[in-house]
Point group: C2
């Protein structure tokens, strides 16, 4: 069973329906590596299926989010970026928008400190860390 079929199956098991649009959106998401915005995903999808509306992309991403299949991250000003898989921290270059995925362990210590000193449970993955990448100092 392909990754796409697995995801569609989970949608069905959740009481959802496996529609043509969802098949196409999920395929595009699986085939396109790295975090991307809803708009970018729509472009990929609409290259072959222009009838699939941006609202459908948002709704599909939403359904997948409820299943825990995709995460989204808010990046400074611009639009949110969505990515498949489990929650992790993103690094985003403020100049070029490059997104770097960080290994979760990198924040273990900070997470521990915040929990102990501030009684705060860090939720990485929902907002990105901003900064500047090599090419833009």
């Amino acid at each position: 069973m392909t990754q796409v079929d697995e995801i569609l199956e989970r949608l069905r098991q959740d009481g959802g329906r496996v529609t043509a649009a969802r098949r196409i959106v999920v395929s595009a998401l699986v085939d396109t590596p790295g975090p991307l915005t809803a708009e970018q995903l729509a472009e990929v999808v609409q290259a072959e299926h222009p009838e699939i509306h941006l609202a459908t992309i948002y709704r599909t991403l939403d359904a997948l989010h409820e299943l825990g299949v995709v995460q989204h991250t808010h990046v400074g000003h611009g639009p949110a970026v969505y990515s498949i898989g489990s929650s992790h921290q993103h690094l985003v270059c403020e100049v070029c928008g490059e997104v770097i995925d960080l290994p979760p362990e990198l924040l273990d210590e900070l997470r521990a400190t915040l929990r102990k000193r501030y009684k705060f449970q860090l939720d990485v993955g929902h907002v990105a860390l901003l900064g500047r990448c090599t090419r833009h100092r």
Copy 2:
């Protein structure tokens, strides 16, 4: 010289003008502790001066940002929060919106790691870390 006058003076030295609206917005900003949204600042301002438009608040915050007097931070979904003073990291509770200011040293180690391992210069202060505060686990 009060903090308000200092800030207004810097505006003037930058070629800007010290208007009634700016005096009022800067006073409200100085008098209201903690990070707040443009909307919240507008409410404070408009309680006494309803003629001051939200657009003026944004433009004043923008002018102050260019002077380095205020910073703003993007908080997950909602609106940006503005605060006076130098850049620092915010912790925001996803449930209640509570904002906690973090001492900058707390991120020194992470910053060093990102610089060495990812050649990435972290810009704390422009996006918040999300999570859950004590009351909302």
